[in-house]
Point group: C2
Chain length 253, copies 2
DNA sequence: CCGCCGCCATGACATGGATCAAAGAATAAA
DNA sequence: TTTATTCTTTGATCCATGTCATGGCGGCGG
């Protein structure tokens, strides 16, 4: 995972396919549905106003590359609707998706001056864009924001460690169960219902996130379906039959 | 990885096996060999003094558990000499080592109030201990320190993403080569010579870090030795015969 | 409505790395 | 020094998952 929960949500008054427009005049943050999940949660009205001042909103269609590994890192992004995947590639094309970003998640942090991974939309997506320099200036000015961002990075780190455990030590079945639970929990944190889980990404994406092949993902889903742990519903939804079963399966217990 | 580069180094005036003593009176930071790698690098004399005020130093033998997963997270640690491993376990005992911490590395960050992983010494180790509460107070007081810590957390995140790529998509041989390169690079950053790399951890630990078994680690080492990519020297040292070869092998090129 | 194309499912087969077993090395203990 | 203990290496075998191949389904454009 490379996201940092940090966001504000507002889709209107934006344009599609990479065009952006200043959002300050409409002060969209006040209408944001995911603000409580993010850096913005920590902000006073004044700080929020300053943040809104530097931000732009953008929309992309599904399958659009927001930025590529190695590109100069000039912008920080915040998902306000839709799903984004971030991934790294090996020279021969093998791919590891390190995170799926949902509304409220933050991405685009960079170590040097270039992105260490590629970010691509999974569904149509709305984003907030923060110019990096101006964002850094704001962070210096508002230590509370800095602190919040740090605490979110710590959360990310913990999530990354969980993912390492998954990638290094779990079986295919455990991986899939863990993945479904993760989606369910993240939905819950966003105030969505946890049970029929929405799974917007393809089998191939799930495979590249879990260190498997699409065939194995597909087989494992049918296996879980056959053993009545889950059932597959319309519209990329997965119904979890017994949450506790799934929890045990996710840890090999 | 769970470490954050952040440190000061000083071994004298400490006791062994968990006993600690106030280090403020000797102001050890001034003699620290790894201070430039860490939070402390960003500090003024006054700030450094305040930091030294709250810190204690400790020594542990090899194989000592510093804290366990789930323990209340009351202390932050900084390695000043030796190697520490941090890991997570599955209920049935499968283990994933998420990082090896070297002098200058920082660990013990927690999301809630408890550690999300176990920390155990690999070699005899010297540590700085920072009481969490007092450390947080200092961070509030010195935004520069906060900022430095955040930037180090970002680095950690990037390293974690590399490790996910490794765990999810690399072959055993690529994993071992990547691991040796990592050790070499980390030695370099600490001003040690990069080529005969010191590998203080056991095959089992390497296996649990790379998502392999000890047998596979062992076989892969002999395979690399046979194909003249590396040679094994006395004292857990590995001589890299051709750095560029190794770099290619680490990425499957 | 039809046909193309991308996604998903499923089968047959191959294999990298795991597992099981046991014999050296190294280290610590006696 | 000898002996126990733990770590490492190596061999034989197995199996979970990957690879290759094929067919079905669903959506979208013509």
């Amino acid at each position: 995972m490379t996201h940092i929960d940090f966001a504000y949500s507002r889709d209107s008054n934006t344009q599609t396919n990479g065009k952006t427009d200043p959002a300050s005049e409409i002060h969209p943050c006040s209408a944001c549905t995911v603000r409580t999940l993010t850096v913005c949660a920590a902000l006073e009205a004044e700080e929020l106003r300053r943040l809104a001042e530097i931000l732009q909103t953008t929309r992309f269609d599904a399958g659009h590359t927001v930025f590529g590994e190695g590109d100069p890192a000039e912008t920080l992004y915040n998902v306000t609707s839709g799903t984004v995947k971030v991934y790294k590639l090996l020279p021969d094309g093998r791919r590891q998706i390190t995170g799926f970003l949902l509304p409220g998640d933050f991405f685009g942090l960079s170590v040097n001056d270039s992105y260490a991974y590629t970010a691509e939309t999974v569904t149509p997506v709305s984003l907030c864009r923060f110019p990096r320099r101006r964002m850094e200036a704001l962070l210096d000015e508002f230590p509370k924001m800095q602190r919040r961002l740090f605490s979110m990075a710590s959360n990310e780190l913990a999530a990354a460690q969980d993912q390492m455990l998954l990638l290094g030590r779990k079986t295919a079945k455990e991986k899939i169960c863990s993945f479904l639970l993760l989606l369910s929990q993240r939905a819950s944190r966003r105030g969505h219902k946890t049970n029929p889980v929405h799974v917007p990404m393809s089998r191939a994406d799930i495979a590249d996130y879990l260190g498997l092949t699409t065939e194995t993902v597909s087989r494992t889903f049918t296996q879980l379906k056959t053993s009545r742990v889950i059932s597959l519903l319309e519209g990329n939804k997965v119904q979890i039959q017994d949450m506790d079963d799934l929890l045990d399966l996710a840890e090999g217990a």
